[in-house]
Amino acid sequence: LALSLLLVATIVSIIHASRGLFVECDVMSCHGGVSSLRNANNSICIASFPNLISAQDEDGCFRCPSNDGYVDPERDTSAGSSRKESTTISPPPDDNASSTSKHDLASLRSLLSSKYPFHANEVLDNVLLQSSPHDFADTGSDNTLLRAQRQMIRLRQMDNILQNAQRQGRISFYMTCRGEEAIHIGSASALKQQDVILAQYREHGLLMWRGFTLEQFTNQCFSNDLDLGRGRQMPVHYGSRALNYHTISSPLGTQIPQATGVGYKLKLDAAKMEDPSEAGIAICYFGDGCASTTDFHAGLNFAATLKAPVVFFCRNNGYAISTSVEDQYAGDGIVCRAPGYGMAGLRVDGNDAFAVSAAVRKAREYCLTNNAPILIEAITYRQGHHSTSDDSSRYRCPKEVHDHSTSTDPVKRLNKFLHRHGWVSSDDTAKIRDEERMAVLNAMEAAERRPPPKLDTLFADVYEEMPLHLRRQEQQLQQHLAKYPGRY
């Protein structure tokens, strides 16, 4: 209990929304996240870890998609081959005069830690400010921070274009994550390859950071023959075993106790490992509405009692379809439930990629050190509709959306941060936007042209081996189709 109190009621930093900088303040407690969510111009409160965990300096190690291990030679749709023709964008032009200092992470860390000495430790450890040990496949560079910006832009372009594609009738359904890009990129950057992600449905930026390509995203949305899911589920129900990302399912909250089971297995495996740096955690994402489900309660209670190393990450974006948080809970958000389970918890500004990265990195270390779960509540805002089947103007006013998209938007915020430190100009950002837009369009058009999967996949994979009754049903269908050629 003392530990969880220490983590929750601690020295906090206030991120001033419109300036995108770290500003120090010594407010001792968080005010309720609910009201601050709806008033975009109020300061957003975050709680951060003190130097509680003397973590080893992470050398910026995180997964690089070009090192994917799993390739199924029989399915050339696999991550491996698709990634080779991946969305490789040519890196920014090499301007010798200023590139060394312009995009040099070491000098940026130096600058930040001297300018914000309170944050010096975090600046030195933050994964977004570290070079990657390997070049990223999509950017061809080891610069994490630039990749973060580019991927946030790519994510937003993908969302815009695929949402429009649904409106044009080209795909049946889509869900955007507009406004939550910092949660995706921030948390993904802090995870390692062996960490297993169990998401809800609005976390595709994590998959993107891990290395899922635009081709793979669009193949799933268009249900074509290269969809790893074999055209079985609606768009945005992505999954990748190679990238340790569980396949999305529509029912809410079911992933939460599953994450506990995953974490428990990881714990048993870690105990037998010679190299402890290979130990992994389970991280489970869900929204504010989902935190009301029975599975939320079961999953957290099990993780705390069975001591499973799981990060439970709640994206509190203010809405569950049309239901605002005021109708969802009466308590102080979601994180206040953690002590009820005997679990540590922390709340973070979900629109600040650095803060989210820090929170997840520290949470991960906490889980592995203590073989215990932790609950993170990230405060953010769902700028888009719930899905393409929703029109949110029916239940919220445009001004609220507009205010958030101008003042707390994570993509704008990171752009401003980079701009302020001379890393990008508005022309640079516009150029990235155009490049990513083209990459999305190209991928989408290629995906759209592809055929659906073969019909015999309809009856496969229900069981490991197809049982007799399904073989007979398959024959029935084939006989029917033979009688009615051209009618299907």
Binding site: S249, Y264, Y463
Partner: protein, 331 residues
């Protein structure tokens, strides 16, 4: 034949199977409510002492948590044996079973699977169970593509079927007739052995009537077949389905085509019980071989009653009547 056998009752046989699973597969874990001290039906006696509390442990009281945890553990490559204390309480877990467990492999394009899951749960009448300690919910689960549903009729079948279930690459719901935990005693091999899933067993050959059941019902059906033979000279062929989903259609069809008459019996309520599936399939496949309408002898469409249990149960007298009815009809 196996060299060494021991007289075991049902819970001892299940204990033996779980011990074998824990010994042969180090990733096996056994969990559920009260599993640690041995379980309310003693199925997990001694296992925690032998294998440690990391591998044999209590969970908090939540069936949906138990089922979800089992799925996650298996998806990460482990073998999970989850106990739901009474099948009457499996319903909170139905979302995890139907929406997650059964679809886990298919929806992922075979990237992920939770074949390592086995859910064990006691089912059936026990004399005094009433509404909530007597149900047999196999019909709800048999309606779920992607699950395997198994029900043993006694200790010897239970050990072999449970080992097959635990080792199956598909998620299995293993239903244990609770009335047999202490009452049914058989010679059970000490060895590690498996009985194939998806295959029925013909317990006695006969020429006049095919009689089909599963689980605890076989004891009643054996009595009915004995009475039919001794009192009326009727030769019954008795089939234990063993696996409810996927069920051994050809075995029942072949037998019915031989005898021309079929009686199906189960404790669960008659409407939409699994017997309906057997009847519908057999009449579709073997209509012209039938000499009488197929009979179902099942529980009534009421909640399982307490004081009137003996009237409710599809007992050997009701089954004898059904056997006589089809024989009389055919003559």
């Amino acid at each position: 034949g196996f060299a060494n056998k021991t007289k075991m009752n049902l819970f001892t046989a299940i204990n033996s199977a779980m011990q074998t699973a824990l010994e042969t597969d180090p990733s096996t874990v056994i969990f559920g409510e009260d599993v640690g001290f041995g379980g309310v039906f003693r199925c997990s006696t001694g296992l925690r002492d032998q294998f440690g509390s990391d591998r044999v442990f209590n969970t908090p009281l939540s069936e949906t948590g138990i089922a979800g945890f089992a799925i996650g553990y298996a998806a990460q490559g482990g073998t999970s044996v989850a106990e739901i204390q009474f099948a009457d309480y499996i319903f909170p877990a139905l979302d995890q079973l139907v929406n997650e467990m059964s679809k886990f492999r298919y929806r992922s394009g075979n990237q992920w699977n939770c074949g390592g899951v086995t859910v064990r749960t006691p089912v059936g009448a026990v004399g005094h169970g009433g509404h909530y300690h007597s149900q047999s919910p196999e019909a709800y689960l048999a309606h779920t593509p992607g699950l395997v549903v198994v029900m043993p009729r006694g200790p010897r079948a239970a050990k072999g079927l449970l080992l097959s279930s635990i080792r199956s690459k598909d998620p299995v719901i293993f239903m244990e007739p609770k009335a047999l935990y202490r009452a049914s005693v058989e010679d059970v091999p000490d060895d590690d052995y498996m009985i194939p899933l998806g295959k029925a067993e013909i317990l006695r050959s006969g020429s006049d009537v095919t009689v089909v059941g599963w689980g605890g019902q076989l004891r009643i059906l054996q009595k009915a077949c004995d009475m039919a033979q001794s009192e009326h000279g009727i030769s019954c062929e008795l089939i234990d389905l063993r696996t409810i989903l996927p069920w051994d259609v050809d075995c029942v069809v072949d037998s019915t085509e031989k005898t021309g008459k079929l009686v199906v019996s189960h404790e669960a309520p008659i409407t939409c019980g699994f017997g309906a599936e057997v009847v519908a399939t057999v009449q579709e496949r073997s209509f012209l071989s039938l000499e009488a309408p197929i009979q179902r002898v099942c529980g009534y469409d009421t909640p399982f009653p307490l004081v009137f249990e003996k009237y409710y149960i599809p007992d050997e007298l009701k089954n004898l009547e059904a056997i006589k009815k089809v024989v009389d009809y055919a003559q």
